[in-house]
C-alpha cells in the first residue's frame, strides 16, 4: 500500500525517474524520425518483455508522436504487450499445421492448468500464455514453446509433465 501511495504522489509515467541506460543507448542509435517507431518498440519489447508507460512517454517525446498514437500502434500489433510476461512464457502454436494435429487440445489443457486466459500472466508473475501462429517447426507439429525453447510432437501428457517440473522448481 505504501509503495502505491508514493507512486501516486509523483506521476504515473515516472517522469522524475531517470531514463534507463537501455533507452539512452537506444535513442543514441536512432534518428528521431516517425517511421522508426515500430523498430524501436520491437527493441524495447525484446529487452523489457513489455512496453511500459515510462517507455511510451519517453518515445513520445523523442519521436514527437502523441501518446495516443503510440498506444494505437502498440495495441495493433500482437507482438507488443503492455504488461510484463511471466517468468515462464509458454506459447502454443495454433498455426494450421499444428491445429490439424490437435494443438487446440494442448491449449485448452494449458488454460485449465494455469487458470488464466491467453495473453495473460498468472498473478504471481510466474507463467504467461500466448497463442502463436506458426513457429516454423511444422515437421514437429503440434508444438509449444517455453521461453523460446521448442517442445515438438507435443501431447497433453507432455505438457503436464513440463508444467509439473516448472511448478516444482518454483516451489
Amino acid at each position: 500500500m505504501d509503495e502505491k501511495k508514493t507512486n501516486q504522489s509523483t506521476c504515473k509515467y515516472n517522469c522524475n525517474k531517470e531514463r534507463s541506460p537501455f533507452l539512452e543507448e537506444l535513442f543514441s542509435r536512432y534518428q528521431p524520425e516517425k517511421d522508426n517507431l515500430i523498430q524501436m518498440l520491437n527493441e524495447i519489447q525484446e529487452h523489457d518483455g513489455y512496453i511500459s508507460l515510462k517507455s511510451q512517454k519517453e518515445l513520445s517525446e523523442f519521436l514527437k508522436i502523441p501518446m495516443a498514437e503510440i498506444y494505437g500502434v502498440i495495441t495493433f500489433y500482437s507482438r507488443f504487450t503492455l504488461k510484463p510476461k511471466g517468468k515462464y512464457h509458454i506459447a502454443v502454436c495454433l498455426g494450421t499445421a499444428c491445429y490439424v494435429k490437435g494443438s487446440q487440445k494442448i491449449m485448452d489443457r494449458l488454460l485449465e492448468r494455469l487458470q488464466i486466459q491467453a495473453g495473460e500472466t498468472t498473478p504471481d508473475g510466474k507463467f504467461s500464455i500466448e497463442e502463436t501462429r506458426c513457429v516454423g517447426a511444422c515437421g514437429l507439429a503440434p508444438v509449444f514453446t517455453v521461453n523460446g525453447e521448442v517442445y515438438g510432437k507435443a501431447t497433453v501428457q507432455k505438457l503436464d509433465q513440463v508444467i509439473d517440473e516448472l511448478m516444482k522448481e518454483e516451489g
Binding site: D35, N42, T96, A97, C134, G139, A141
Partner: protein, 619 residues
C-alpha cells in the same frame, strides 16, 4: 570493396572448391558435412550437432573435412538432417550424441552408419537424397541453393553464379530489356494474387517521380506456411540480387525488406547478407563501376497478418498501424511516402536472377499455359512427409500428397487439402487430380495463395475448420472497414452456434448470404477473401454442415457437444486401455468383456479415442 575482376576470381576458385556439393563424382579428397539450420531442424538441436561435429574433428585432428550450416533441405519431418557430400549420404533424425559415430564410421572408416540412414515411406533405406520419392517429382528453382550453400557466406552464393545476373543486367541490358525478359518468362506474383511480375515492373517504371522504392514482402503470415522463411534462411542473397535488379529496372535507389520479427534466424541471415554485400560493393554506390546506387534496409513486422497486404505493409514501414489503403492509387503510382513503389514477394524475387541468366524461354517452358515456372509449397498436416516442396506448375494435388508427401499416416483416409491459408479454400477428394495453377485452383473455389498446403484426414470436422479460420480472421481484421470487422465476427458466431449444436438450417443460409456480402464490400484482400474457407467448405461439405444443424451430429467427433462417443462392441477386445486412460472413470466393464461408456460421466475429451489400439471407439 571488390572489383569485378576480383569477384570473377572468387567465383572461379569457389566453383572448383564447392563442386562436390552438387557433383557426386567430384574430383576431390575433401568431404563436406552439411547440417540443416532451417527453423525446423534448429528447433530439434541442429546447432548442437554442428558444434559437436566441429569439436570432434578438431579433437581428432581430421583433415579435409568441413562442417557447414545450410538452409532447409525440405524434408522437415525427418529433421535434424545431416548430409555428407560428395557421396550425398542422407542421415535423418540425427541426435547430438550420434556425431561421434558418424565421424568414426563414415569419415574415418568409410562405411555408412546404417541405422541413421533415412528411410522412405515403404521402409526402404535410401543412400542418397535423389533416391527419395520426396525429391523425385520436385524441381528446384527458387530453392536452388537451399541446403547446398552456407547462407552466411557470400562467396558460396557467388560460386553458384550469384550476382552474375546483376552484372549482366547492369553491364549489358537496358531496363526495357529486363522488363521484356521478365514479362516473356510469364512469372506471376507468388504472394497469392498472381499479378504478372513483368507488368508490375513496367507500371512502376512508367510512373513519374525522382524517388522510387523497391520493397520485398517477407511478412509471411499464413499460419502453417514457411516458404519465404526457408528461402530467406537458406539463400538470402538471391533476394538481395533480385531487388537490386528490380531497382535498376524501375529507377529506384532504396529498398526495404519487411520481414516478420517472429523469424529471428531469417532476420539474422538477412542482416549478415546485407553487410557482406555492402562490403563487397554489391550494395551501395556505383555498383560494379556503374552509376547505379542501391541500398537495402530491413524493417521488422510485429505480428499482424494484415500487413501482408501490400498497402498495409507500406503503412507499417512508415511506422503506423498497418491498415490497408483504398486502391487506387496502387503502390506502383503512390506507395511508400506517396512515391512509386514496387512490392514483390520473397519467392517471386528468388526466381528473377535465374530467369535473367537462363532466359525467358527456359522459364516459360516449365509449367502450364497461364502459370509458368514452379511453386514452393509448405506441406503440412496429416501427411507423412511434412516439409518444403517445389514443383512445376501443373503438378496435381494427388502427386503432391501421395508421391511427394507419402500419403496419409496411421492408415487414415484423405478428406481435404487446404491451400491459400485463411484466404483460400478446401479441396476435396474428387478434385485430387486438378493440376495446380492459378486458374484451376480458383475454378474449384480455392486459390494458390502464398503456398501453405495443409492435408486433413477423415478425423477432421470441416465446420470446425471453417471456424478455426474465421477465428483467425476475426482476430486479425484491422477494423478499418465494417464488412470485415463486424461481418466476420457474425460469421464466427454462427459457426460457433453450429458447432455447439444450437444452429439451424436457417443459419447456414445466413452464413452464405453474409459471406457473399463480405466478399463484395470489404476494402482489402484480407476481408474480400475472409469468407473463402466457409464458402468452399460449404460447397464441398454441405452435408456435414447440415448434420451439425439438423441431426445435431458431428461424425468426425470433433465438436464435443455433438458427438456421442461409444465403444463399437464387436471391435472391442476388452484390453482396458481406454479405461486406464479415461480421466473421469466413465468407462465401465471388466476382464475381457467389451467396455461401455457411461454417457452421464463422459466429458468427451477423446482420450479413449486416441488410446484405443483397435479403432474400436466411434459414434
Amino acid at each position: 570493396m571488390k572489383t569485378l575482376e576480383e569477384l570473377h576470381k572468387i567465383r572461379a576458385e569457389k566453383k572448383k572448391e564447392l563442386d562436390l556439393r552438387i557433383n557426386t563424382k567430384a574430383d576431390t579428397r575433401e568431404k563436406h558435412i552439411l547440417v540443416c539450420h532451417g527453423t525446423g531442424c534448429t528447433s530439434s538441436k541442429s546447432a548442437e550437432i554442428l558444434a559437436n561435429f566441429k569439436r570432434i574433428i578438431e579433437e581428432k585432428k581430421i583433415e579435409n573435412v568441413r562442417v557447414i550450416k545450410t538452409g532447409c533441405f525440405g524434408l522437415c519431418a525427418k529433421g535434424p538432417i545431416v548430409i555428407i557430400r560428395p557421396e550425398d549420404t542422407f542421415y535423418a533424425m540425427v541426435k547430438p550424441e550420434d556425431c561421434e559415430e558418424i565421424i568414426q564410421t563414415h569419415i574415418i572408416e568409410g562405411n555408412r552408419v546404417e541405422r541413421l540412414l533415412c528411410k522412405d515411406i515403404d521402409g526402404k533405406k535410401v543412400n542418397s537424397l535423389d533416391e527419395l520419392n520426396f525429391y523425385k517429382k520436385q524441381k528446384r528453382i527458387a530453392l536452388k541453393n537451399c541446403g547446398i550453400i552456407n547462407p552466411e557466406d557470400i562467396d558460396e552464393y557467388i560460386a553458384f553464379d550469384g550476382y552474375l545476373a546483376l552484372e549482366k543486367v547492369l553491364k549489358e541490358m537496358t531496363p526495357e530489356e529486363v522488363i521484356e525478359v521478365i514479362s516473356n518468362s510469364g512469372l506471376r506474383g507468388r504472394g497469392g494474387a498472381g499479378f504478372p511480375t513483368g507488368k508490375k515492373w513496367a507500371l512502376t517504371r512508367a510512373s513519374e517521380g525522382k524517388q522510387k522504392y523497391v520493397v520485398c514482402n517477407a511478412d509471411e503470415g499464413d499460419p502453417g506456411a514457411f516458404m519465404d522463411r526457408s528461402i530467406l534462411e537458406g539463400d538470402p542473397h538471391s533476394v538481395l540480387e533480385a531487388m537490386a535488379i528490380a531497382a535498376y529496372t524501375i529507377g529506384a535507389n532504396k529498398g526495404y525488406i519487411y520481414v516478420r520479427a517472429e523469424y529471428p534466424i531469417a532476420v539474422k541471415r538477412l542482416e549478415i547478407a546485407i553487410k557482406q554485400a555492402k562490403e563487397y560493393g554489391i550494395l551501395g554506390e556505383h555498383i560494379f563501376g556503374t552509376d547505379f546506387n542501391f541500398d537495402i534496409e530491413i524493417r521488422l513486422g510485429a505480428g499482424a497478418f494484415v500487413c501482408g497486404e501490400e498497402t498495409a505493409l507500406l503503412e507499417s514501414i512508415e511506422g503506423k498501424r498497418g491498415q490497408p489503403r483504398v486502391k487506387p492509387p496502387y503502390p506502383a503510382q503512390a506507395g511508400l511516402w506517396g512515391k512509386p513503389t514496387l512490392i514483390n514477394n520473397v519467392e517471386t524475387y528468388s526466381n528473377i536472377a535465374q530467369i535473367i541468366l537462363k532466359g525467358a524461354n527456359w522459364y516459360s517452358s516449365i509449367g502450364t499455359k497461364n502459370s509458368k515456372g514452379t511453386k514452393v509449397f509448405a506441406l503440412g498436416g496429416n501427411v507423412n512427409n511434412i516439409g518444403l516442396v517445389e514443383v512445376p506448375m501443373g503438378t496435381t494435388l494427388r502427386e503432391i500428397v501421395y508421391d511427394i508427401g507419402g500419403g496419409i499416416p496411421n492408415g487414415r483416409e484423405f478428406k481435404a487439402a487446404q491451400t491459400g491459408g485463411p484466404s483460400g479454400g478446401c479441396i476435396p477428394k474428387e478434385h485430387l487430380d486438378t493440376p495446380i495453377d492459378y486458374e484451376s485452383l480458383k475454378e474449384i473455389g480455392s486459390m494458390m495463395g502464398s503456398g501453405g498446403l495443409i492435408v486433413m484426414d477423415d478425423t477432421k470436422c470441416m465446420v470446425c475448420l471453417a471456424k478455426f479460420y474465421l477465428e483467425f480472421t476475426v482476430s486479425e481484421s484491422c477494423g478499418k472497414c465494417t464488412p470485415c470487422r463486424i461481418g466476420t465476427k457474425r460469421m464466427l458466431e454462427i459457426l460457433e452456434k453450429l458447432c455447439s449444436g444450437e444452429g439451424s438450417e436457417f443459419d447456414i443460409y445466413k452464413l452464405e448470404k453474409l459471406a457473399v456480402n463480405i466478399q463484395k464490400a470489404s476494402i482489402c484482400g484480407l476481408g474480400q477473401s475472409a469468407p473463402n474457407p466457409v464458402i468452399s467448405t460449404l460447397k464441398y461439405f454441405r452435408e456435414e454442415f447440415r448434420q451439425h444443424a439438423i441431426q445435431k451430429e458431428c461424425k468426425a467427433l470433433e465438436c464435443k457437444a455433438l458427438s456421442k462417443i461409444t465403444v463399437i462392441q464387436d471391435k472391442c477386445k476388452g484390453c482396458g486401455l481406454c479405461q486406464k486412460h479415461c480421466p473421469v472413470n466413465a468407462i465401465e466393464g471388466k476382464g475381457r468383456e467389451p467396455r461401455v461408456i457411461n454417457q452421464d460421466k463422459c466429458i468427451k475429451c477423446g482420450t479413449c479415442l486416441t488410446s484405443c489400439p483397435f479403432h474400436a471407439i466411434g459414434n
